[in-house]
Subunit: 235 residues, 2 copies
């Protein structure tokens, strides 16, 4: 299979890169769609995201196979090897983003429209927009090979974490106000946590992308904290 074609190493690497970009675009649209499905209780859209996730998984497997075959056949050294290994890692993070978006989509039925207060919908929408922008940006910067522009993505991720903490508190308040909100708010809590985790995967991708381009670690590994776990029983 494919042994008869003699593509150059660069061509093969580019085809892995294209797959990675496809995965990145799919991941970004899945995040966007999942939030819309959640906030408009759109079951059909939710179903499409679940199908998209199968496409994402297939693309990851294809990328992995290509990358491993490339390593085995071409035996790349140093920088080329780094690029291939990083592509495998970035694909892993993109696949996880797809998985988390799918998990949000699956909760669409469990949350229900009427039970989500407007201010809460707005908070989640605003957090999701930030997350969606981060996913798009990290892929675009990787494609454009703009290493330094990856650095601020970390600061943006802190904004996501702050928004998550605010939503966490808001959800607890709604639950305490009326026990009938508890089930739907619990599902929304997991959705918000999933968005926050998507942000973490963007940071991982930024780290790998930076490493491919520069051979160095992304400056300043900020200590990762989930403020809500520190909030204690008084939150």
């Amino acid at each position: 299979m494919g042994e008869h074609t003699v593509a150059s190493f660069d061509e093969e690497l580019q085809s892995i890169d294209r797959l990675l970009c496809d995965m990145g675009e799919l991941a970004a649209s899945m995040v966007d769609d999942a939030t819309r499905a959640l906030l408009s209780t759109d079951a059909a859209l939710a179903q499409r995201i679940i199908s998209d996730d199968a496409i994402m998984d297939a693309k990851q497997r294809e990328l992995d196979d290509k990358a491993i075959t490339l390593i085995a056949r071409r035996q790349p050294m140093a920088q080329d090897l780094r690029a291939v290994v990083s592509a495998i890692r970035m694909a892993g993070d993109l696949e996880r983003i797809g998985d988390l978006a799918k998990n949000i989509a699956k909760r669409v039925g469990a949350v229900g429209l009427t039970s989500t207060p407007t201010s809460l919908s707005y908070s989640i929408e605003s957090m999701a927009e930030l997350v969606h922008r981060q996913v798009k940006k990290v892929v675009d910067l990787y494609v454009a090979r703009e290493a330094e522009a990856l650095v601020p993505l970390r600061v943006e991720d802190e904004k996501i974490d702050i928004k998550y903490t605010a939503i966490f508190r808001e959800l607890l308040t709604y639950m305490m106000e009326d026990p009938r909100n508890i089930t739907s708010c619990t599902h929304l809590l997991f959705c918000a946590k999933n968005l926050e985790r998507i942000g973490d995967h963007v940071t991982n991708i930024a780290e790998n992308a930076y490493y491919v381009m520069t051979g160095k670690q992304l400056p300043m590994a900020r200590p990762k904290t989930d403020e809500t776990v520190m909030a204690g029983a008084n939150a």
Copy 2:
């Protein structure tokens, strides 16, 4: 660095394997400790798990470096390459297990002892025991190269999912009974979800281990469902 020593390919692969086993043992003890810390509100133990996670991360980086150097220098083909790539993937899952255990440990302060009813503690303990056993088992079976014994791990993971669903419902009940339980129960919900996700990572490891040993996919990819997301607003 190390370029003067001429170790055989097998020796280098064995040293990667040993690192993987170290990570597996550490992961299992972190899961065990995290649950004990949570259920006994042991802040010192929780702190140790947070330090253990740094050790885990360092071991993963060491394994990754060794594996990539091995691929670059030895240029392994087919089965050997598969073993190295799978080791990288299994290490990734073990690192995630450590991360999830750390996340449980971080919630120790937020949950508090008095607020956890005995029956709930028992349910979480029983789920955690199952998860801990799965982590230990998958590592042991990999070390012993017992491919067929990996197959039943999947069925065991379904038991974990069932326990998770029961705990999810139990937690909702406590929250509805008394709004003062909401904060601590929310943190326990995330802990239970983390245990359930550790189970998923065990399944991933089993799949990779099976693939290394047999070159085939682990039989029957069961559709992964989180029952609670289907439970709807009436759960």
